[in-house]
Amino acid sequence: MSTVEIVEVRGKVEKEHPMEKLLRMDRIPHIWCPTCGIGTAVKAFATALEQLEIDYNNVAVVSGIGCTGRVAGYMKLDSFHTTHGRAVPFAVGLAIAKPKMKVVVFSGDGDLISIGGNHFIHTARRNVDITVICVNNFIYAMTGGQVAPTTPILANSSTTPYGTFEYPFNLPLLAASSGAVYVARWTALHVRRLTNAFAEALQKRGFSFVEVIAPCSTLYARRNKLGDGLNLMKFYHDNSIIKHGADPREVDIGFQEKIVVGKFVDIEKPTYLDCLNDGYKRVFGDAYKVYGEEDE
């Protein structure tokens, strides 16, 4: 690339971000580190919304706490930054109150799966109509790199300074076995496929789940001597195996081992409110007024 071209590209960027209508530009620059994967996930999500041509007024983002917890604050949508681990139950209340709204939980692995783990499995079990996006960087990044329930065995963290010796969760298996109707995993390298997965998840009725394996070069990579952002992308490139329909039981992630990515679950199942409405209709007959059908 010549110098002239670089100037031109920079000029364009300064003019307008391609996702400007979906971002709170008055809050940019964001807090994420250079080479962090969260920005990529946000861009892919915004692109998916754009591709779907859905009414942005009808989409809400709910986040918990942590680096990914800040997503709600940057999306120009009705957005809720809740407490640690509680984005999912907040979203449950919101989704039931606004059954026609697309409610998306965008949060991190520690938030959703450790402190919020119970909410995660129960909401999948009920098949509440929400989309959960989990950016998995294998670590508690906001607090400085502590071990997470997703940290691979042997990986180093600030609270496992001699290596992690406990089993991590396999998130697609957890989601699938809890009842999710859509489960996919991609890395921050697979931007096009990730965008498609978000679009598919958003169109599903019921509990849809997308795991995004994302680099944290500041903490996870540095502590584990894995290089910089580019090295991590190269690692994803060389070690991701696309395997649609893979058995979720076989997609565990080991330390610096192969990462199976793809769409693992895509099924149809009545949602929480479908089941409730059907059940009450059976019990009360015509006297029952179907919940959530009225136009607001």
Partner: protein, 391 residues
């Protein structure tokens, strides 16, 4: 003062008539009459009958009852539903109340209208699941971290459980705050006549929505009464709210200046409107030598003791705290210089008593009649305390 519009209750939600109900069922009916359409809860003795009644009634009135996986989830779900524009409530007791504290704080910070009924039992920890206590009063006041003000109502009967639950919804919408109904096992499980009036006699405060356009709206610019108006979700406001310290835009700002502004207003919207919120019932205060303070079931338990003392010529006045929080400190302070003593009767080892002692500020004697819970006070102990107070 900001003029607040009210609307009449929806007749479909109101079980007008004379009923024989326990306090828990009455509380549930109060919520339904107030237009509550979302209940997220977790079973816990002695509050469960509220959830059971709601689960039975909601399908018939267009509400959604969901038994959540725990109390943290319950509290968050009612916040989410409230932001979705639906009036919401939960109920709990002791251990569940502790678990709700985290996100009660979120409700305070986001300024979310909703109602939390705590049917108090004996504590600490698992304590006395089936027996009464009033030992969560200070937890209601200070149980979540940080500085804030709260509103807590204490019904003394099933009838009042119905009425105060409606009132709690009105206050929550009026001041954009989660409101506590602090009842107890006795009131919750006591069955009495409950008269539910016609819907046309029930005034409700509807959601205070902004009339500004999305372009000119920010979520935390307060009205004159220090309460900001809410945005409707899904209508293009694209608002952001956060549990972090935030500015008028709802954006997180982590510094001392914004913290002062943010926290100060959260407190002031209650402190400066306290006169409108505080609800106390006074009796025989004129010329009283001793004033007995109580709330909830205890207000009824003390009556024989007061009668006995009066028969002996002791001039006993009464203050029943219908709202315990905000505490009627001005009134308690003012009376302290006119009377000989305050006698505080509560089913704990001294909680609201410390407020009485603080406001009396040495101007009169203060006597506590404590009780660890498990049963109500023996009126004789209260009588002895009154005698002691006038010595």
């Amino acid at each position: 003062m900001t003029k607040i519009k009210t609307v009449k209750a929806d007749p479909r939600d109101v079980l007008t008539g004379e009923h024989y109900l326990d306090g828990n069922h009455a509380s549930a009916e109060g919520g339904i009459a107030a237009g509550c359409k979302f209940f997220g809860g977790y079973p816990i003795t002695p509050s469960t009958e509220i959830a059971e009644r709601i689960s039975q009634r909601f399908p018939k009135v267009g509400g959604i009852f969901i038994q959540m996986e725990d109390e943290m989830a319950s509290m968050n779900a009612i916040l989410g539903a409230s932001w979705g524009g639906v009036k919401s409530m939960t109920c709990t007791s002791g251990p569940g109340f502790s678990l709700m504290m985290e996100n009660f704080g979120l409700g305070i910070m986001l300024e979310t209208p909703c109602v939390l009924v705590n049917v108090q039992r004996g504590g600490p920890s698992t304590g006395l699941p089936t027996l009464p206590g009033q030992a969560d009063m200070m937890q209601a006041r200070w149980g979540s971290h940080g500085d804030y003000e709260v509103i807590a109502l204490c019904p003394d009967s099933p009838q009042e459980s119905f009425e105060l639950t409606i009132h709690a919804f009105n206050l929550s919408e009026r001041y954009r705050i989660p409101v506590f109904v602090m009842t107890d096992e006795c009131v919750g499980h006591m069955t009495e006549k409950v008269v539910i009036p016609g819907a046309e006699e029930i005034d409700l405060v509807p959601r205070r929505y902004t009339d500004k356009s999305p372009e000119e709206y920010w979520p935390y610019i307060p009205e004159k009464d220090l309460v900001p108006l809410m945005p409707p979700v899904g209508k293009g406001y694209k608002f952001h709210i956060t549990g972090l310290t935030h500015d008028y835009r709802g954006y997180p700002v982590i510094n001392a200046e914004v913290q002062e502004k943010c926290v100060r207003r959260l407190m002031d919207k209650i402190i400066k409107n306290a006169k409108d919120i505080i609800w106390i019932e006074e009796k025989d205060i004129e010329g009283a030598e001793v004033v007995l303070l109580s709330y909830g079931i205890t207000s009824r338990v003390v009556q024989p003791a007061i009668e006995k003392a009066k028969k002996e010529g002791i001039k006993v006045g009464q203050i029943r705290l219908v709202t315990v929080w905000p505490f009627p400190e001005e009134r308690v302070r003012e009376l302290a210089s006119k009377i000989g003593a305050y006698v505080m009767v509560e089913m704990n080892y001294g909680q609201v008593y410390y407020e009485v002692e603080r406001c009396a500020a040495g101007k009169c004697k203060t006597v506590l009649v404590p009780h660890a819970g498990g049963t109500v006070h023996n009126p004789e102990d209260v009588y002895v305390a009154i005698k002691e107070a006038v010595k």
